[in-house]
């Protein structure tokens, strides 16, 4: 993997004592160099009266691994789903390899989606299909690979995440949480995607299994030479898999920078989050609006 380009405003100055939005607005994480693999500009998304994304700007360079951190309900998953095309943003731009995808026709969108792999928070394995068919799903449906060949490819991908061929014919319900995550990772990498998204990859796992999954993510992304965009609130995971970290708060990126800089960010939102303090500028939302 290439070294992460640094963001021009990677160190956000300490916010003024007044309106916290001033601090939020002052940060814009932008990768330098050529055309970013993913370029998000001024992204807005609301659900009814609830404004979730309020102008997100984010670049992810080719081969870079960016992790978006933030508390629950800050819009991390919504951001990911907008990029994936699962949700349609209200306003703003998303470019993949320089191609605008917001408002794109469904057929063209499918071609873009062929570049993606995704590991869902809960695994999202199809419980009506055996493990091997889950892993080979993209190969069979999107790439029209013959089933026999797809099964062999699935077993190879299972091996890549440390699972033996004996799990191939099991149902996802027969697997532990950690094994389901591995199968989901195998499915995410099976089509050799250019961009892989990870949604809370370690949620619900014990610390050891979390580390195993983190190692697998790093290894798989490295082997594929893929670009990775992850969301998590697990700082150990973020430190391990990221080149660059961006923090999302109240629908905006409030800080972005290389992973090595996060402990000295000087940003009160980041400091409160990474140290897990109840006191600070972030007021936790206790219920969904």
């Amino acid at each position: 993997m290439t070294d992460a380009p640094s963001a021009p405003n990677s160190r956000t100055p300490a916010p003024p004592q007044g309106d916290p939005d001033d601090a939020i607005m002052s940060s814009m994480p932008v990768a330098q160099g050529g055309t970013p693999k993913i370029a998000v500009r001024d992204l807005h998304k609301a659900f009814g009266a609830k404004q979730v994304l309020r102008g997100v700007d984010l670049d992810v360079a080719d081969g870079e691994s960016v992790v978006v951190i933030g508390g629950s309900g800050t819009g991390k998953s919504v951001l990911l789903k907008c990029i994936l095309g699962i949700l349609t943003p209200d306003r703003g731009s998303i470019k993949i390899d320089g191609v605008e995808v917001v408002g794109m026709r469904h057929r063209d969108r499918e071609a873009i989606a062929a570049k993606f792999g995704m590991l869902f928070q809960g695994g999202a394995l199809f419980d009506s299909l055996p493990v091997w068919e889950n892993v080979a799903f993209g190969l069979i449906q999107a790439k029209r690979m013959p089933r026999r060949q797809a099964r062999e490819a699935a077993i190879e991908n299972l091996a890549a995440v440390g699972l033996g061929p004996e799990v191939a014919d099991l149902s996802p319900a027969e697997l532990s949480g950690g094994m389901q995550k591995r199968v989901s990772l195998a499915r995410a990498i099976a089509t050799r995607p250019e961009i892989i998204f990870f949604d809370e990859p370690t949620t619900g796992l014990d610390p050891i299994m979390s580390d195993v999954i983190n190692d697998l993510i790093v290894a798989c992304v490295h082997e594929l030479g893929a670009t990775a965009l992850s969301i998590t609130h697990d700082m150990a995971s973020a430190r391990k898999i990221a080149h660059r970290i961006a923090m999302l708060h109240q629908g905006r990126i409030v800080w972005a920078g290389p992973v090595a800089d996060i402990d000295a960010s000087g940003n009160p939102y980041v400091d409160q989050f990474i140290h897990g303090r109840a006191e600070g500028p972030i007021q936790m939302q206790v219920r969904r609006d």
């Binding site: 994936l84 095309g85 499918e110 989606a113 993606f116 809960g122 999202a124 449906q141 998204f197």
Partner: protein, 257 residues
């Protein structure tokens, strides 16, 4: 809020829901006629809806035919018109009872199961996963189910027609003492193509309704297990109501003078 505003608000909400359902239905139908198709999934749904619903439809229509013969005999005996039992049974079964009862039974069995399955897929992000795997969920999940519903309900109803008439025959011949040959002859002479055909058209419409409602409510379910439960209930209730309304409309179209 005054009463007029409340009524207006309910009416607008109804229009919005109707519009959303119509768009969903149009989208689903467009995916039925456009490739790619998924033959394995279509076959699985055909078997699930057709083969596995057969026992419940057969039992329902068998006993309905038997009860119909018994009741109509009791009623017609009051004015010496017992000979009309065969006519009443075949007409009622083919035109009304077989399609409506099969539709309602399949709504309970298949509509609920579809809403629960697709609803669970929605809340566990499996539908989102389909999208990320370059697979259109409408084409993969909804179109095969609706196609199978439209295809298999007429088959079930045709079988239900035969079994219902058989039920009437069994009661009429073995309990009420009708002549078997006369009963069969009377049934065959009285039934017309339009009687059976109208029932099969109704069945296709009911198959569409049941699968559409199951898919629609499952696809739009929200909020975890409770949301899936609500979707399942809504799928069955809305399908049952629409079946009864559609039954009247199709009857009007076929038989109104």
């Amino acid at each position: 809020m005054n009463v007029v505003a409340q009524i207006g608000s309910v009416f607008l909400a109804f229009l919005e829901a109707a519009g959303r359902l119509s768009l969903f239905a149009l989208n689903a139908v467009s995916h039925i006629v456009r490739p790619p198709w998924y033959p394995r999934l279509i076959l699985r749904q055909l078997v699930d809806i057709g083969y596995y619903s057969l026992p419940v439809v057969a039992l329902t229509t068998l006993f309905s035919g038997m009860v119909l013969a018994l009741q109509s005999y009791t009623g017609f005996a009051r004015f010496s018109a017992e000979s009309a039992v065969a006519n009443v049974v075949v007409l009622s079964m083919t035109r009304e009872l077989a399609p409506v009862l099969a539709g309602l039974m399949v709504a309970g069995r298949i509509g609920a199961s579809m809403a629960a399955e697709i609803g669970t897929m929605r809340v566990t992000e499996q539908i989102d996963a389909l999208t990320t795997l370059s697979t259109n969920p409408m084409k993969y999940l909804v179109a095969p189910r609706i196609l199978a519903g439209i295809t298999m309900l007429p088959v079930l109803v045709f079988v239900g027609d035969i079994i219902g008439v058989l039920g009437g025959y069994l009661v009429s011949v073995y309990k009420l003492g009708f002549n078997p040959d006369n009963y069969v002859r009377q049934t065959l002479e009285f039934v017309e193509f339009n009687d059976v055909f109208s029932g099969l058209v109704k069945a296709a419409a009911f198959g569409f309704i049941v699968t559409l409602m199951g898919c629609y409510h499952g696809y739009n379910s929200r909020g975890g297990a409770q949301g899936v439960g609500v979707a399942t209930t809504n799928a069955v209730v809305s399908a049952a109501i629409l079946i009864l309304v559609t039954n009247y409309i199709i009857t009007e179209l076929f038989f109104a003078r």
